[in-house]
């Protein structure tokens, strides 16, 4: 539903989705005032390299910038400022500076944070500051235990291995990545760890951590104890919605006209959604036609293998290899439902993958 007259837009969250929302507003000819509030002190930067080339040193902080220095979007960037409350009725955002920011349209793009494990020597990875600390800790080598074999955990394992660490990945699911890729493909993709000398222990949850002034070991529920000099937890993300609690939460505030949400705060965890969806969110604020949405897409980079996935996979979809050989870790797999392709997975197959990804777009998708 469109607001009658939008003269001022407040964007809360100054990262990928927030920046994409600013760009989309200007591209959709919005000439009014834009204020962007971001809790981190940094200009928008790219997170995917944080677990990959940034840890190994191939990419520097400057290389993460998402906005060229000469890009002038005419927005007021309020960095290092946190939103602490919201009144959707008046579209007023309360800030930790004591100020109240009132706007005609509000874009909620506060993303997510890493689910923590509170223990000395246990790192999580979500922000540039996290990555700088972890990169420093990885300067010496030793024994690393990664808790969680999801994409970020797997990428950290791959980067640390490249730096010469002895790496063990522990995962409570019996097949890593089965939620995203299904059991069959999750199993094939997680063989990458073993290919590169990383131990993968699945199906056993962590039961405890030992060490008082430094981490000593990770304890598993089956009694195993894995010695560790460093532990990284990649056990999921929690949307940053606490500042909306007194207003009834995310679903309640976005049911009010003039308030939209986009990016990881919505529960998505993919870069491409945070880049593309803001144009749709902003169009609904301005009362404009939304752009055509493409099938969801994400990638991961592990041990030099480019993993790409697009589409809407559902439990029960069948999957078959249409090209290449899983043993070579180079193949294309297509998921099907009712004889129609629903999703596609590629390992080191960018050309074919792109071809299939394009076809998915024309297949009607239920949201």
């Amino acid at each position: 539903m469109a607001v009658v007259c939008v003269e001022k837009v407040a964007i809360v969250g100054a990262s990928l989705a927030g920046l994409a929302a600013v760009r989309a507003l200007r591209r959709q000819s919005f000439a009014g005032e834009i204020v962007v509030v971001g809790a981190e002190p940094h200009r928008p930067y790219d997170r995917p390299p944080l677990s990959k080339d940034f840890l190994t040193g191939a990419v520097t902080t400057a290389g993460l910038a998402l906005s060229p220095d000469d890009e002038d979007l005419g927005a007021d960037w309020r960095l290092g400022v946190t939103a602490t409350g919201f009144d959707p009725r008046t579209r007023s955002v309360r800030l930790d500076t004591g100020e109240v920011l009132r706007a005609d349209g509000v874009v909620i793009a506060t993303g997510a944070r890493a689910r923590p494990i509170e223990h000395v020597g246990v790192h999580t990875l979500r922000t540039l500051d996290d990555a700088i600390v972890l990169r420093e800790a990885l300067r010496q080598t030793g024994r690393l235990v990664v808790i969680g074999a999801g994409f970020i955990g797997a990428e950290v394992a791959s980067s640390a291995r490249k730096l010469g660490w002895d790496v063990t990945v522990v995962e409570s699911l019996s097949t890593p990545l089965s939620g995203q890729l299904g059991t069959e493909m999750g199993e094939i993709v997680s063989r990458l760890h073993g290919d590169h000398g990383v131990r993968l222990l699945t199906g056993v949850p962590v039961s405890g951590l030992t060490g008082t002034d430094r981490i000593e070991a990770v304890q598993l529920a089956d009694g195993a104890r894995i010695e560790a000099d460093l532990v990284v937890a990649g056990i999921g993300a929690i949307p940053n919605v606490e500042w909306l609690a007194e207003a009834g939460g995310l679903a309640a505030v976005t049911s009010v006209p003039g308030v939209v949400a986009t990016g990881d705060v919505t529960g998505s965890q993919h870069w491409t959604f945070a880049v593309e969806h803001p144009a749709t969110a902003v169009a609904s604020l301005l009362g404009a036609d939304p752009p055509v949405a493409r099938a969801p897409y994400f990638w991961s980079d592990q041990y030099g293998v480019m993993i790409q996935f697009a589409g809407h996979r559902q439990p029960g979809d069948t999957v078959r290899i249409v090209e290449g050989d899983p043993e070579q870790r180079r193949f294309l797999a297509v998921y099907e439902r009712d004889g129609q392709p629903s999703a596609v997975l590629g390992l080191n197959q960018p050309k074919l993958f792109t071809r299939w990804r394009r076809q998915l777009r024309s297949v009607p998708q239920e949201a």
């Binding site: 790219d46 080339d53 910038a65 060229p68 790409q308 792109t354």
Partner: protein, 113 residues
Amino acid sequence: MLQPVCPLSEIPPGEAYRWETDPPVAIFHTEDGEVFAIDDTCTHQDASLADGWLEGCEVECPLHASRFDLRTGRVDAPPAKLPVRAHRVEVADGVVHVELSKEPPNLPPGAKP
């Protein structure tokens, strides 16, 4: 200097051809029948733009969402920040000829020089 590369008939409209010169060059034959040549390697990471998603006069990198203008080499938005070089193309007697740009290429960190 114009160099012959391949017969145009080898590149169906909507497709691209990767010319293995150093650094490699991607030659695009658009749906509208135009032919363009730009550096093949994305300026963000080591991806081949010939593998990308061609739409009109733009190609989207096959890995991340940056789009390059085939006419100018310019990039629309990060993660890639630097343009690729655009090369002059001529089609003579059904053969694609390319004159390589004299500017230095913007290769990504870690790409083979």
